[in-house]
């Protein structure tokens, strides 16, 4: 460092940094996520406790029976009369649908048929791995750790599935939704329905075998508009097994950081084309939502730096649609204004 230059005052800069961060505040998405965690905290804690209620009740009942039988045993021996049968035990447990505990005002379960339960609005099904909030009366069936929605409108909140575990699935009329850990709303009508993804990522497996990824802010409906029926083709069992789809692995934060560093170097050399190609290639891979957002914003900035205003406008508009309350929401809005995008 040049000795004649005054050394920068760290405290002054740190105070300015603190002020800048205070002005930015907590991002809306983060605010909502934490608030949701607070709301779910108590119900999850109770759900965990309630899992043990039937076991505890059974153990208590068994202990009671043993105590009664044990007390009466000498009498029975003395009188040589058979001991009276113990009164049937009544085990009080919280209402449940499969592995889920029903929460809400009394009368949540309106009826049950074929293993499915008709649930009233404002009720919830809670399990340690997932919560299902009923917004409009719904018919729901618990299938192990998965759920089938036959009708109604429900919100799902699914905890992140640990690596190596099978994903959670939600079955609907025209396929199934594969969930890795996310928040989404499903509406199922007699003729079809849709899923709105709020956070995370889901994959829709149609009944015909096709698969479609859904991104946050997107809605996927079923059934799709019907195409004209083609000629009838006799189904022939293929001789070779179908190719196994190789799922691209999600990029790590370290990889993303390395990409941004390379892009920064390219940008410093004003090699915008190469930088844009690098980020576009990176964006083809799956990332966690936050990293995808950073990369997407970076791409927009590069397009702007390359003075490709039209492409930058298109990209930032798409970014805004995809991440309406993302961490760059204000910055993107400003850029769109500055670029005079339509």
């Amino acid at each position: 460092m040049d000795e004649r230059r005054p050394k920068p005052d760290l405290v002054e800069l740190l105070e300015a940094l603190e002020q800048q961060r205070s002005a930015q505040g907590m991002p809306v998405g983060a605010r909502n996520r934490v608030q949701l965690a607070i709301r779910n905290h108590e119900s999850k804690r109770r759900a965990r406790w309630r899992r043990w209620v039937p076991v505890a009740s059974f153990v208590a009942g068994a202990a009671l029976v043993l105590a009664v039988v044990g007390n009466r045993w000498p009498e029975a021996e003395a009188e040589s009369e058979p001991a009276p049968a113990a009164a049937p035990l009544v085990v009080a447990a919280a209402p449940a649908v499969g592995a889920f505990v029903v929460e809400g005002r009394g009368g949540c379960v309106l009826g049950q048929h074929d293993g499915a339960s008709d649930l009233a609005a404002q009720c919830s099904l809670v399990a340690p791995h997932m919560s299902v909030h009923v917004w409009e009366p719904a018919t729901v069936k618990a299938e192990g750790r998965n759920v089938r929605v036959s009708s109604g409108k429900v919100l799902f909140e699914v905890d992140e599935v640990p690596e190596g575990e099978a994903p959670i699935e939600v079955a609907v009329s025209h396929g199934r939704i594969e969930v890795v850990g996310t928040r989404f709303a499903v509406e199922q009508r007699p003729d079809g329905g849709h899923v709105d993804l709020l956070e995370g990522k889901i994959r829709f497996h149609r009944a015909d075998g096709s698969v479609q990824d859904v991104l946050p802010g997107e809605r996927l409906s079923w059934p799709e508009p019907q195409l004209a029926p083609g000629p009838e083709v006799e189904f022939v069992e293929p001789d070779v097994p179908p190719p196994v789809r190789k799922r691209a692995r999600r990029g790590t934060q370290k990889q993303a950081a390395a990409i941004i560093e390379r892009v920064t170097a390219l940008r410093a050399e004003k090699r915008y084309g190469a930088a844009i190609t690098e980020v576009r290639r990176a964006l083809r891979r799956p990332w966690d939502r936050r990293t995808a957002q950073v990369l997407s914003y970076e791409l927009g900035e590069l397009l702007r730096a390359a003075e490709d205003t039209l492409a930058a406008c298109d990209h930032f508009a798409a970014h805004q649609r995809r991440y309406p309350s993302g961490r760059y929401a204000t910055a993107v809005e400003r850029v769109l204004e500055r670029l005079d995008c339509e």
């Binding site: 603190e18 934490v34 607070i38 709105d196």
Partner: protein
């Protein structure tokens, strides 16, 4: 049914919960609205500007609040509690990360070094102010926290000692070491 509408719709009504639980949740939510920015800002400072890190700490602090509610009577004077819990939570996380990233643990677990890089930090480090943040982030966890409390929050050494549960002498050493490191890195720290 639009996505925005879905986000803002209430997820569960308080009267669907037991009265006590509903009251606790309501109280925590009220305190969350009041103190979330304060907690988040502190966490962001110690997390080197990483929003995901700060969000995790904020969530942990407010979930911890459920367990502490019974001991906390005056909701109007909660800032010291949040300051203490957030600072200690951050310090624990930083120490945990440092331990996980230490050479013996990495060797035992067969992991490569995590140098704490993430895309957000890399993009942010381009800005001048963030360079100052990076200097702070380069300090060892205890020094970072004690130094920040001293120079940014204006806390006295006795107050810092009370919050972190150490002696005043140890805090004094931590601050002196941190200042020496900062100066060695070519920055000025006002005396006092």
């Amino acid at each position: 049914m639009g996505v925005e509408h879905l986000v803002t719709e209430p997820l569960s009504t308080p009267d669907a919960l037991d009265a006590t639980d509903a009251a606790a949740t309501e109280r925590v939510e009220a305190l969350y609205v009041q103190h979330r920015e304060f907690v988040y800002r502190l966490a962001l400072r110690y997390g080197g500007g990483c929003h995901a890190w700060a969000e995790d700490v904020t969530q942990e602090v407010f979930l911890r609040l459920f367990d502490a509610l019974a001991q906390l009577e005056d909701d109007r004077a909660m800032e010291p509690w949040f300051y203490r819990v957030t600072t200690n939570r951050c310090l624990n996380r930083l120490r945990g990360e440092r331990l996980r990233n230490s050479a013996p643990v990495r060797w035992l677990l067969g992991r490569r070094s995590e140098d704490g890089r993430n895309p957000e930090r890399v993009t942010a480090a381009r800005q001048g102010l963030e360079q100052a943040g990076a200097v702070l982030a380069s300090l060892p966890p205890k020094e970072r926290v004690a130094f920040s409390m001293h120079v940014l929050d204006g806390k006295k050494q006795t107050e810092i000692a009370e919050v972190l549960g150490h002696s005043k002498g140890y805090i004094s050493k931590l601050i002196a070491r941190a200042e020496a490191r900062v100066r060695a890195a070519g920055w000025e720290v006002p005396h006092g």
